[in-house]
Amino acid sequence: MTATVSDAARRAATPKGTASNPPKAPKRRRNRGYAGSGRDAWLLVLPALIPVAAFSVYPLVQGILLGFTDAEAGLNKVVTFNGIDNYTQLLGNELFWNSFRIGLIWAFGVTILQFLASLGLALLLNLDLKLRWLARTLALVPWAMPPVIIAIMWRLMLNPTYGPINGAMKAVGLPGDINWLGDFSTALPAVIVVGVWAGMPQTTITLLAGLQNVSADLHEAAAIDGANTWQRFWHITLPALRPVIVAITTLDLIWNFNSFALVYVLTAGGPGGQTMLPMLFAYNEAFRYGNFGYAAAMGNVMVVVIAAFLFFYLRSQARSRLS
């Protein structure tokens, strides 16, 4: 192996778009230096790319196309394109608008609360506190539980008659007779809390792994210069974490918007559609009523919303590259 540091390696180490590395190189040189060649990269990525192409890219394209057809679960029917019929039908459907609204409230509510809670927990776990092992273990446990089981557990917690939440309210003299998952006003907030509980470990672990990469030397230097904890958090930790934060928050938002199992088991979309997330709506259309085309159309509408989330993510990425 050569031991010289090539141009390519230096380019790899500089952020994109700076003067030393114009985004478009006029001609592609074959670098035989440290960073290797483009062909090496292809070989390394190939094992991952092939299955993804066959079993997610192809079905995706198919799925999008189905959204413009009248496909149904019945096998003997000829599928025909019906243009935007599905969409005019959707937009005229009050249940669709309800599910759309519920989906957005749920996605933003869970993501924001989850991020704040997880960041706090990750910072605490990064300190040398007593009982940290307990918090650490507990922070992992929800992750080891299928959403189905988490939903069952919270059904027990929220049970109007036997649940400890109402029990505790009774004990302190409050009316402990709330049917959390059955009341119109409390069902959505209740499932949002469960959503936060269920999703915290993943976000916490991701942030914690990011925290491990924050340079201790910088912290030490700042402390010697007299920066207090808050200043060090604000000026060292947070900027270092920023890429991880933006990535995990965007993903959480999209995952939550697409979520299914937790609410399916908790409320199945009830009471009266108060927790009817878009995926539940689409699932019912496809597998209860057999309207494949209509369900795929709902999927396509969800894609538009997700594209908007991604647009903001990519814009923020671009901005951080410039700064």
């Binding site: 960073a35 390394l44 990525v45 990064n126 009982l131 307990l134 557990m153 027990l156 007299g226």
Partner: protein
């Protein structure tokens, strides 16, 4: 990176002030995260009479395991757990093996590939499953993988690979390239650099990534719901979701017992890698 060092008078140890508040916050987290689990545990040991008593006690009065026996008998739990474990382990191994080289390439090579791959990764990750599941169902039917655990492994691999890749390449990018260059300067071979410099530093990220893959396969419900109809091939979430329907007539104890049993294999998995976690990802305070 270098900054002018301002001569600011030194403060007293900054950590001491915040301690009580930190412990209060930690206690809050422990209650929020832990209490539901504790309640699930105590409910599993309660008799139906206890559950229905007008003055419920938090702890069960007797230590009875009837609920567990009944749950195992009713729902085919052991078998379903075997199916789940089989699928999750296979998926994790495959995903880790194929995402590691790909993640390194994406993080370190500046070719057109990077943009293309990142685009696909993002796209396949964020699409609503409803769009994927209908065509996928038809494809798998054609190659005879409906109602087949290998079909599920295939779907889970494809479905968790993109995020694993994205996570991993983020961690690789977080390792300063200068370290690798320094290794190269000292005459270390490519393989040696990867083994002695990149992999150890990648440890926490690798643990986080394979954990994510295992858990997401173990937990997955939607694809399994659509793709597996054979009761003998049901994964744990499917079996339990079916069990919920029987909850109406206060079989809460059995339901809790079944849920508890269902979390044991993955908790065991955590116990196994706990040391790895403690030494890597979760290692302690910022040395200051």
């Amino acid at each position: 990176m270098t900054q002018a060092v301002a001569t600011v008078p030194r403060q007293r140890r900054p950590f001491r002030v915040a301690r009580p508040f930190q412990y209060l916050a930690l206690a809050g987290y422990i209650v929020f995260l832990g209490f539901p689990l504790l309640f699930l545990l105590t409910t599993a040991f309660k008799t139906p009479q206890e559950l229905q008593s007008p003055n419920p006690t938090f702890l069960p009065t007797t230590f009875n395991v009837d609920n567990f026996a009944a749950a195992i008998e009713k729902a085919n739990l052991i078998h379903a757990a075997g199916n789940s474990l089989f699928v999750a382990v296979f998926t994790t191994v495959i995903v880790t093996l194929i995402s590691l080289p790909a993640a390194y390439a994406l993080a370190r090579f500046k070719t057109k590939l990077r943009g293309v791959a990142t685009g696909w990764i993002l796209l396949s990750q964020v699409f609503p499953f409803i769009l994927i599941i209908i065509p996928l169902f038809l494809v798998l039917k054609q190659i005879g993988l409906i109602n087949n655990l290998f079909g599920l492994i295939l779907v889970y691999t494809v479905w968790s690979l993109p995020f694993a890749l994205w996570m991993l390449q983020g961690y690789v990018a977080g390792i300063p390239a200068e370290l690798e260059e320094a290794g190269a300067m000292d005459g270390a071979s490519r393989i040696r650099i990867l083994r002695s410099i990149v992999l150890p530093l990648l440890g926490p990220g690798l643990v986080a990534t394979s954990l994510f893959t295992f858990i997401s396969s173990w937990n997955e419900f939607f694809f399994a719901l659509v793709l597996i109809q054979d009761p003998n091939l049901q994964t744990l979430p499917l079996t339990l979701a079916r069990f919920v329907g029987a909850e109406g007539q206060v079989q809460l104890g059995q339901l809790a017992a079944a849920s508890l049993l269902a979390t044991i294999p993955s908790l065991a998995f955590f116990a196994l890698i706990q040391r790895r976690l403690t030494s890597g990802l979760m290692s302690g305070a910022v040395k200051g």
